[in-house]
């Protein structure tokens, strides 16, 4: 059967809302927050018009959104929510509970800066603060990737080897609100791809009543957490298997990262999500001038594909990791520090520098990316990095 090729014009949020409509979860419990809001609005319209089987719970906070989603998922339903920024922060304690319960909740997170100062625009400080919560994290560059990741997330989360929740992250406003062309997978194919949710354990099994969320003392706690870590390890296989399967119905390839003109690149930028699109334009320009530059756009941060990233960057001479969130460690952003740690045992290490950029939605243009590549060229010629961490485009 031929693959769908007809393009449609949608915002990122509209595309994701449509993915969720095709998945048709049993329950959605959500609270609006900019820039996630119109996912909830689109979905409310689907419910109001009888286009889905979903029971919608319009809760009074994100804390309750995640609590109700956990309750519904534990009951045996396919349950979802969506959020951004402060909403994700308010959910934080429940993020640990969703993963600790091994509940396969797939959740779009429309990346937005966390207060203070209050700001509604994109950066990654919300999801970076959730890296240790036991959730798988997948990032997308544009509406197409956000849509594709959303559908794959359900299958990854529900795989019996994984049984962990997944955040599907994409950039607030830049991706969530811009209208782009994308290709949807037909409804029937998505339905077949995600299949019916068959939980191993559920509350609604009255012949075998289960106690969800008991008190676990030091005699068992470590074992339960170690099993959770095994689930994350198993996700390494499952994420790739699901990507292969998804390619069959979409024709689009996904993996740990996207390499753009990376193979012989000496100077490489590593950057997540929408900024990668801007970087690609500059890579093309510089390549046309004969510069050996390339781009690596990570797709998955949990589990962290350390080996794969090291291998992909082993030919590079100098790498700029661009982090769209501060860690305040004074040692650089999250991706920078994890990537440097991944290179600890590598025989060949590129020079590495870090840029903290685009905070609170500060626009990152091709001019900024060109500055970064110019800096990398100087580093390469000098054979050293003069400054490990730089805040890009900040007035002093």
């Amino acid at each position: 059967m031929a693959l769908e090729t007809k393009q449609v014009a949608m915002t990122g949020n509209e595309a994701v809302a449509n993915a969720i409509k095709q998945i048709n979860p049993d329950v959605i419990a959500a609270y609006p927050i900019t820039p996630q809001t119109d996912i909830v609005q689109f979905y409310s319209t689907f419910v109001a018009n009888g286009l889905v089987d979903t029971q919608m719970v319009t809760v009074e906070s994100e804390h309750s959104a995640m609590s109700a989603t956990i309750g519904a998922s534990a009951a045996g339903a396919r349950a979802m929510t969506a959020t951004s920024s402060q909403g994700l922060a308010l959910m934080h304690e429940l993020l640990h509970i969703a993963s600790g319960f091994r509940l396969p909740i797939a959740m779009p997170v429309v990346n937005r800066a966390v207060s203070a100062p209050i700001n509604i625009h994109c950066d990654h400080s919300d999801t970076m603060a959730a890296l240790t919560t036991g959730w798988i994290q997948i990032y997308g560059e544009n509406a197409q990737e956000a849509y594709d990741n959303m559908i794959q997330a359900v299958k990854i989360a529900e795989d019996p080897r994984v049984k962990l929740p997944v955040m599907v992250c994409y950039d607030g406003f830049i991706t969530s609100h811009a209208v782009e062309n994308l290709v949807l997978v037909p409804d029937e194919k998505v339905k077949e791809f995600v299949g019916e949710y068959k939980p191993q354990h559920r509350l609604f099994d009255f012949d075998n009543p289960i106690t969800f969320g008991p008190l676990v003392l030091p005699d068992y706690f470590s074992e339960i957490k170690a099993q959770e870590a095994e689930g994350m390890l198993a996700a390494r296989e499952v994420i790739l298997e699901v990507a292969k399967e998804y390619e069959k119905i979409s024709g689009r390839k996904y993996g740990w990262f996207e390499g753009y003109k990376l193979d012989d690149a000496e100077r490489v930028i590593v950057v997540l999500s929408s900024a990668a699109g801007t970087a690609k334009v500059v890579v093309d320009e510089l390549r046309a001038q004969g510069e050996k530059v390339g781009l690596l756009k990570p797709r998955v941060l949990r589990p962290f594909p350390a080996e794969e990233l090291v291998k992909a960057l082993s030919g590079a001479k100098v790498v700029a990791v661009m982090d769209r969130a501060e860690t305040f460690s004074t040692q650089g952003g999250q991706i920078f520090t994890e990537l440097r740690a991944a290179f600890y045992e590598a025989p060949k290490k590129p020079l590495m520098r870090n840029y903290i950029f685009g905070l609170g939605g500060r626009d990152t243009t091709t001019a900024h990316i060109r500055t970064v590549f110019e800096q990398l060229k100087q580093d390469q010629e000098r054979g050293s990095v003069d400054r490990k961490v730089t805040h890009l485009d900040v007035r002093v």
């Binding site: 049993d26 419990a29 809760v59 804390h63 045996g76 289960i210 008991p214």
Partner: protein, 309 residues
């Protein structure tokens, strides 16, 4: 009206062998309420004594599906469970008639869980929320809550040279829940078991959200003998400190009016947490407590009259 013999024949969802203290009001409330469900029942529990003492992994005292996620969100968790039921039932994936009950202490209900409770009540989920009110954060070691009565000695409102215990009056949560205009709200006491059972039946039969506030003495926190739990519950009702009433579709009905209203000191002096109030110098505090009990009782009687006019 069921007889005690009939009630005792109903299978229980909370098995013996749990680790709650002797004389604790919570399991009495749970056993009395859950009997009225008459069929498949899903229990949601807020963090607290009841949760930690009944589910020490790998054991459980719950012979029915049970879920606990966190402290402040039992009503929200139950909202999701109930929504899953509505969805799966509509899709033909669940065929049983299932009831839903939530248990939270006064900490998880009056205070940290207040917002999620209000949300669940306003959304009118088909569930029964039961607060077992022991008037302080007992699980963490008897700290004051907004349900703690004025004058009580707790570890965060301790009696001292400058303190007679908690200075503030209790929050009236039952009235606040009734103000949500939910199908059913009631206040109960384990000493009046028949009144309690009938109210639980009505709560489960209500088509939507129901709230029950149940007095649940804590022998550790109230400092009374374990054997006196039920007697103290009776004194709470007979002094009108804890009136028994229900609010159905806006109509208040006081379900028990003591023939002779006892002074509140009868209730207070039975408990060690109020012992200091009977020392010289605290007469004024006792007067204030009595005045507040009287005011609230009169107001309740007036509400009953007005709402049934």
């Amino acid at each position: 009206m069921a007889s005690l013999k009939e009630l005792s024949a109903i299978p229980e969802v909370l098995a013996p062998g749990h680790r709650l203290c002797a004389g604790c009001g919570a399991p009495i409330v749970v056993r009395q309420i859950t009997r009225a469900a008459k069929g498949p029942l899903v229990v949601t529990n807020a963090t607290g004594c009841l949760e930690v003492s009944t589910t020490v992994y790998p054991y459980t005292s719950w012979n029915t599906p049970w879920i606990h996620t966190a402290f402040e969100n039992a009503a929200a968790t139950a909202s999701g469970v109930e929504a899953a039921y509505q969805s799966l039932k509509r899709q033909g994936k669940v065929d049983k008639e299932v009831k839903f009950v939530v248990f939270g202490g006064d900490g998880g209900t009056y205070d940290i869980g207040f917002q999620s409770l209000s949300g669940a009540m306003e959304r009118n989920h088909n569930l029964v929320y039961v607060c077992y009110d022991n008037g302080a954060y007992m699980n963490t070691g008897i700290q004051r809550s907004s349900a703690t009565p004025k004058g009580a000695d707790t570890t965060t409102s301790p009696v001292g040279k400058l303190s007679y215990g908690k200075r503030e009056n209790r929050k009236d949560l039952t009235q606040i829940m009734a103000a949500h205009n939910i199908p059913y709200a009631a206040q109960v006491s384990p000493a009046h078991w028949n009144d309690l059972y009938q109210k639980a039946e009505k709560a489960f039969a209500a088509n939507g959200a129901a709230f029950i506030n149940a007095l649940a003495p804590c022998p550790r926190g109230w400092r009374h003998d374990s054997k006196d739990t039920i007697e103290i519950c009776r004194l709470a009702v007979d002094t009108c400190f804890w009136p028994l009433y229900e609010v159905v579709e806006g109509k208040t009905r006081v379900t028990y009016k003591p023939r002779e209203k006892k002074p509140v000191t009868e209730f207070l002096k039975a408990q060690g947490r109020f012992r200091h109030l009977f020392q010289p110098g605290n007469e004024g505090v006792l007067e204030e407590i009595q005045k507040e009990v009287d005011r609230r009782w009169e107001e309740l009687l007036a509400l009953e009259e007005i709402s049934n006019r």
